[in-house]
Amino acid sequence: MIVCAAVVGPSYNPLHLQTFALDDDPLKYHYIVHCALDVIDERLSPPSPRSRGAGGNDPCLGYLYSTEDFKVYGYVSNTHVKFLLVLDDPETKDVRELFHRFHSAYIDAVSNPFQLPGHSITSRSFEARLRALASS
């Protein structure tokens, strides 16, 4: 099950972080998501020969790292917006599909003319869509 979904901006600033576990301290997920950025950073930074090959342009980075209880998955858009999902179950679902839905929800949220680019997203409908994503 998805316990946390996060959107991180191109300059590694948090745009949105939502937790789905009940009465859980969001602080923990902030730390986990922030930590996962290191891995994303590493995957993105120099075009190593390995990533140059097939699938080098795949936005879905897949599994990033795991903590004691969670596994973190990542996805990067063309505009370098990072999407992260923290999952707490051991078996991996089709995260690619989840990220596609996540991405389109984000696109809809930032298409709002009142959404300032680079600012955190506080849209209620975006939150609702992520909740739906988490419960699916």
Binding site: G9, Y12, N13, P14, P26, L27, H30, Y31, I32, H34, C35, A36, L37, D38, D41, E42, S45, E68
Partner: protein, 1256 residues
């Protein structure tokens, strides 16, 4: 640490143990130096440059270049209890905290600083690690630490040394390991005869004893050592020898255990710490050679032999085809003899006696390891691992795996295999540590330490190969089941591994450091927690991760305050207050409480409890305030937020305002109102004046007068906050050094309570007392009576604007030129109604009071409102309206006490000449000059009547400016002052009256006046009281006479004729009704009719049926009730109304001329001319009841708009063109009365005729 260094380090750890058993006397000799015998030998245990050939199982010998042994007292050869060991380790960490703090480790580091860190960030960890490994020695499942040899020490004074030597090695003196049968009791024994040079026994005697000893015990295993050969008293030696022992001494508690075992009380020398005071250089050489000879000549050959013989034994039983087949078929020797099955067997790995094959194998392998024959060791470890696995002796299995891992590293074996070894060691140890399953409590701490050890080895090996990223995982795994303190240390190490890895994983470093900080925190290692948190502040802060930042700041704030650094704590806590608006209210309240508590403690620091004398208390309070200010500069307090954009300055320069509503009226309106009275202003600097304009622009204010500054305070939290002592901070440039600012400026303090999310505008006041330049610099406050705050105002003009530019409007300027005291008038209009009826005349009292000391003169009033009129003289204040307007109410007033009205003139601002009035200018005499010589002394009052007549229904805005000048010479830049007053009155509709004049049928001199009345008010009853006809422009006076009896009044259908209330006069006009009044208007005959006065002829109207109708019956009383048309106010208002009427007509004319063809316009005299020619001006006076009873309620009982209170009176002006002007031709038929009708027809058709004539 590179791999060779790491190998060296490991060799240093795994060394053979030599046990020392001294007699009590022998130990006493050594204690003269403050050392035990074992300690005395310890500096010489590290042997270098040996080049000793060793030949074990292999064909070829190899050479040892260096070797190290451990010399220990028998009592100390046992594992310390877990609690004791942990206590020791905790102390190391605690001591490191102090060192770390002194060296500034706990400073906040920037990312760059972290990345380029050269020195080891955790120097204490090395020591901790050694101590940790040390604490795990002498375990029962390994043979590394089993004693290999034993030194028996007997003094030369002993009467029978040989017997003593033989007695010395008894069960009483052997270590626990041997006593329990775990270690082999058959040790190499070496006999040392200790000779004390300071004793009575001579060396010769000792040598004699030694020879005797050698013969009995064997020459090779005996040695004579002479020590304490220093003869001269202590301190005479030329050079001071460096302390060789230092760190090598046993901890005090181990020493104490050893000495008490020997029955020696801890002597003085031990405590003095002067190690080796009695030892000369020769003694040291002797000791060195003792150790060296013993090691090389005795111990190493013994070990060699032991390995060879054990190897032979193993080869016989385990190797070869026969033995392998045996083990293949599962044939093994019997199970461990005393090993109980079940839980204990699993946890402890069973009990294997020293002579069991497994133990022998282990001893063999470990000896080979100690002798650095790693290949041999490895092959035996492999054998052993299989055995233990088959026995399910997990602890021993894990120990073997661990040793295998180390051996593989030492031989640079396969890395993967080594990893697997350590991994399985970790897992097996963990399994023993948690009998209920890994990760389940309870965890056996003693056991968990071994698993941690294996992971530490693995991590160190990875690190030595530069594989920092791989090194983190073992540390993390170990940390999961460890005690908080060790977990913290491990996490910190793994954090630094991330930092050193390529590429640098800064965020992971931060995360693990925070985890370490939390662990440190939970085991009360505050310094370390603070260090961990501050190190990562640079990783997280100001990157938008608000939650994390907040967590760090709060944790730091608390920890730093716990260790007593309140000032440092405040620095962190204050950052929370400004940035926690996304948190729930409860958390915000916690933050605020914590912050206030620390601030409170800070301000009370150094204040002793109990009673104090006031001076000391004041001093303590001042010290507390200074401490607070040093910890937190007031500017840094983010609560409440001050909105610098919304600052508004209220002050009086030459302008002042009577009410806040007057401020709202725009400056352009006021400048128009005051233009007629204000002297021509000097033109300001122009662009040609050059740089003069760059001079600072200041506001001007008057000493002693209040300045108000509106400041918006905003509370962003969801918690209510109290803000007290809000005041303005200002500087007075005229102030001399040392004089208190309170002599110059009087500042008022305010207090406010801000609700969650509230922003509130607060008016802060100050009063300059002396002249000079006053600068308002900042606003100060105290939050919750603890934390002082301050916000500086922007003194510079905004970006891009030149200084002195208009970009800073006066209400934003915070610099004032204070001028000497000037008179200041405050005014109010007394009796100003809020609601009036259309056309109503009302008298108010203008009360001017000079609130300052200086006197003022030359008072003028100016207004642009036609409805506002200043009274002629103060006598008009007599009597109550409307009675004061009646004939005879006025007294004769000497002209000098009357003011005068002036026409406003407009002067050219540059030349000062009067320019022709523009058409938009005020069409009436708008300036009232008070009687010459009117002087208002300081703090005096002046009351003056003011008349108000409401115009059309709607909102009536009255703007009035009082102009005055200070009496006498005025040195300052302010030569005059104006007071601006404004008021708004709701005007309700009242009566509409239209007059129509038609010729009288019978009489040429007489006209018929038809007054059409309509009540527009829905509920108020009006009474038409009087009708007056004014003297025309040609000074003709028309006489009014009622046409018929008052029953001509027509009532609205279905309406009852109202009965006039007793005593009231006038024709009642019920709400929303219409009525018609007919009169005769006769020209000429001066003074013929009653009610005629100088300016008008008037008719008093009486209600129908009262019996007093008509002017003929008017008696004295009625005449007195007439409204005086000569009254100043009436006259002026009439004049204004007429001017307004003319202006309206002219405007209409103009708009008509735009649409009409010019040919027709040229045809006859213009409308304007004809209007001038002759007009009948009529005045209708109505009245509203004296109180509620007079104003008759509407049928619905609605009284919303009806007026209660004193009687009110209104005046309407009507204009009607005179018939004289209308008809150029007039035929009058004289005849008897039946023909009047025909004559009327003639008259009526006359206009038609005229028009037709025109048409031709």
């Amino acid at each position: 640490m590179r791999p060779p260094e790491l190998k060296n380090w490991l060799r240093g750890i795994y060394t053979p143990v030599v046990q020392v058993i001294p007699t009590t006397d022998a130990e006493a000799i050594c204690l003269k130096n403050g050392l035990t015998f074992a300690e005395t030998l310890r500096p010489f245990c590290n042997l270098r440059n040996l080049n000793v050939p060793i030949r074990t199982a292999g064909e070829h010998a190899y050479r040892l270049q260096d070797f190290k042994i451990r010399i220990l007292n028998a009592k100390n050869i046992e594992q310390h209890a877990v609690e004791v060991a942990e206590e020791q380790l905790t102390q190391i960490v605690s001591q490191a905290a102090e060192v770390a703090t002194d060296e500034g480790w706990s400073k906040e580091k920037q990312i760059g600083e972290l990345l380029n860190m050269r020195r080891d960030p955790t120097p204490w960890f090395t020591k901790y690690q050694s101590e940790f490994l040390n604490a795990l020695t002498f375990s029962d499942h390994e043979a590394f630490d089993h004693p290999v040899a034993c030194l028996l020490v007997v003094p030369s004074t002993d009467p029978d040394p040989v017997k003593t030597f033989l007695d010395l090695y008894s069960t009483h003196n052997v270590p626990t390991l041997i006593r329990e049968g775990i270690a082999d009791p058959q040790l190499l024994k070496h006999y040392v005869l200790l000779h004390d040079m300071q004793s009575d026994v001579t060396l010769e005697r000792a040598e004699q004893v030694f020879i005797e000893m050698k013969s009995t015990l064997g020459a090779g295993s005996c040695q004579l050592v002479a020590i304490n050969s220093r003869k001269e008293p202590e301190g005479d030696s030329e050079h001071v020898r460096p302390d060789l022992w230092g760190d090598l001494c046993d901890p005090a508690w181990q020493r104490a255990a050893h000495l008490s075992h020997l029955g020696i009380d801890s002597p003085e020398e031990l405590r003095m710490g002067k190690n080796g005071a009695q030892l000369t250089e020769d003694d040291l050489v002797t000791l060195d050679s003792l150790v060296k000879d013993f090691t090389i000549k005795v111990m190493l050959p013994y070990m060699e032999n032991r390995v060879v013989s054990l190897n032979q034994q193993v080869t016989d039983t385990r190797k070869g085809l026969k033995n392998q087949l045996k083990s293949f078929w599962g044939y093994r020797k019997e199970k461990p003899k005393s090993g109980p099955e079940g839980q204990d067997a699993l946890a402890g790995g069973g009990h294997y006696a020293y002579n069991s094959p497994e133990s022998q194998l282990r001893i063999l392998a470990d000896l080979a390891f100690l002798l650095r024959d790693y290949e041999l060791a490895l092959s035996h470890y492999r054998l052993l691992a299989a055995d233990y696995k088959a026995d399910k002796a997990w602890k021993r299995f894990a120990g073997v795996q661990e040793a295998m891992g180390l051996t593989l590293f030492m031989t640079d074996g396969a890395r993967r295999e080594m990893e697997i070894c350590f991994d399985s060691a970790f897992q097996s140890y963990s399994r023993c540590a948690s009998p209920n399953g890994v990760g389940q409590s309870p965890v056996d701490m003693g056991m968990a330490r071994y698993s941690t050890r294996s992971m530490l080895f693995l991590s160190s090996i990875f690190r030595s190969h530069g594989m920092f990223r791989d090194a983190t995982l073992p540390l993390m795994r170990a940390s999961y089941q460890e005690s908080p303190l060790r977990a913290a240390l491990l996490l910190e190490q793994s954090a630094y591994c991330y930092l050193h890895s390529q590429p640098q994983l800064l965020r992971k470093f931060g995360f693990h450091m925070v985890l370490a900080g939390q662990r440190y925190n939970s085991c009360h290692q505050r310094w370390h927690a603070i260090r961990a948190y501050t190190t990562v502040l640079g990783v997280y802060c100001s990157k938008g991760w608000a939650y994390i930042e907040e967590h760090l700041h709060f944790a730091l704030g608390r920890q730093v305050s716990f260790i007593g650094d309140l000032a440092g704590s405040v620095q962190y806590l204050v950052k929370l207050l400004g940035a926690c608006s996304h948190q729930p209210a409860a958390l915000q309240a916690t933050y605020l409480r914590e912050f206030l508590y620390v601030m409170q403690c800070l301000s009370e620091q150094g204040r002793p409890g109990g009673d104090m004398d006031p001076a000391a208390a004041a001093a303590a309070a001042a010290a507390g305030a200074a401490a607070v200010a040093a910890a937190l500069p007031a500017e840094d307090l983010p609560l409440p937020e001050v909105n610098l954009e919304r600052i508004h300055v209220h002050f009086h320069d030459h302008r002042s305002y009577a009410s806040p509503s007057a401020v709202q009226v725009g400056e352009e309106v006021w400048s128009q109102v005051e233009a007629p009275v204000v002297p021509v202003a000097q033109a300001g600097p122009t662009w040609m004046d050059g740089n003069k304009a760059t001079k600072e622009v200041t506001n001007t204010c008057v000493a002693g007068e209040e300045i108000g500054v509106d400041v918006e305070l905003c509370n962003r939290l969801q918690v209510q906050i109290e803000v007290s002592q809000v005041r303005l901070l200002c500087a007075h440039e005229g102030r001399a050094e040392g004089e208190p600012i309170s002599d110059y400026v009087e500042v008022q303090e305010e207090a406010i309570s801000l609700k969650p999310g509230e922003s509130s505008l607060l008016r802060l006041r100050l009063r300059p007392l002396r002249e000079g330049v006053l600068r308002i610099q900042a606003v100060q406050w105290v939050l919750c009576s603890v934390a002082p705050g301050c916000k500086r105002f922007r003194q510079d003009p905004p970006e891009g604007a030149r200084p002195g530019d208009r970009a800073t409007p006066p209400h934003k300027r915070l610099v004032f030129t204070v001028v000497p005291p000037l008179p200041r008038v405050e005014a109010k209009l007394e009796g100003l109604p809020s609601v009036m009826f259309e056309g109503e005349i009302h008298r108010c009292i203008l009360e001017l009071s000079n609130v300052a000391r200086p006197a003022l003169q030359n008072i003028k009033l100016s207004t642009t409102s036609p409805g506002l009129l200043c009274g002629h003289c103060p006598q008009e204040l007599k009597g109550a309206p409307p009675g004061c307007l009646e004939v005879g109410a006025q007294e004769e007033v000497p002209p000098e006490s009357c003011g005068s009205l002036e026409r406003a003139v407009v002067r050219d601002p540059y030349t000062g000449e009067i320019v022709p009035a523009a058409p938009t200018s005020v069409p009436f005499d708008s300036v009232f000059v008070f009687p010459p010589g009117t002087v208002l002394e300081g703090e005096a009052q002046l009351r003056w009547p003011v008349w108000i007549r409401s115009g059309a229904a709607g909102l009536l805005a009255l703007n009035l400016v009082v102009y005055y000048e200070p009496q006498g010479a005025c040195p300052g830049p302010i030569k005059y002052r104006v007071l601006r007053m404004g008021a708004q009155i709701q005007v309700n509709p009242s009566v509409r009256a239209e007059a129509q004049l038609s010729p009288c049928r019978g009489d040429l001199q007489r006209h018929l006046l038809n007054v059409h009345l309509q009540s527009l008010h829905p509920s108020q009853q009006f009474r038409v009281r009087q009708l007056s006809c004014l003297r025309s422009t040609r000074q003709e006076l028309w006489q009014l006479a009622p046409l018929s009896s008052p029953d001509t009044l027509e009532l609205a259908p279905g309406e009852q004729k109202p009965t006039p209330p007793g005593g009231a006069c006038g024709v009642p006009l019920t709400p929303s009704s219409q009525s018609r009044l007919l009169f005769h208007l006769t020209k000429g005959r001066e003074g013929a009719a009653a009610g005629a006065s100088g300016a008008a002829s008037s008719l008093h109207l009486e209600p129908a049926g009262s019996g007093r109708g008509g002017a003929e019956d008017a008696d004295e009383e009625a005449a007195a009730a007439m409204v005086d048309m000569d009254h100043w106010a009436v006259v002026q208002f009439l004049r204004r109304a007429k001017a307004q009427h003319l202006a309206d007509q002219a405007a209409k004319q103009r708009s008509n001329s735009l649409t009409r063809r010019p040919s027709i316009q040229a045809a006859g005299p213009s409308q304007e001319e004809r209007a001038d020619r002759e007009q009948v001006e009529l005045v209708l006076v109505w009245e509203v009841g004296a109180d509620g009873s007079a104003g008759v309620a509407s049928p619905g009982g609605e009284r919303a708009l009806s007026v209660a209170g004193p009687a009110r009176m209104g005046v309407h002006f009507m204009h009607s063109n005179s018939l004289n002007a209308e008809a150029p031709l007039r035929c009058v038929l004289e005849g008897p009365s039946p023909h009047r009708c025909a004559a009327a027809c003639w008259e009526a058709r006359a206009p038609t005729l005229r028009l037709r004539a025109r048409g031709l």
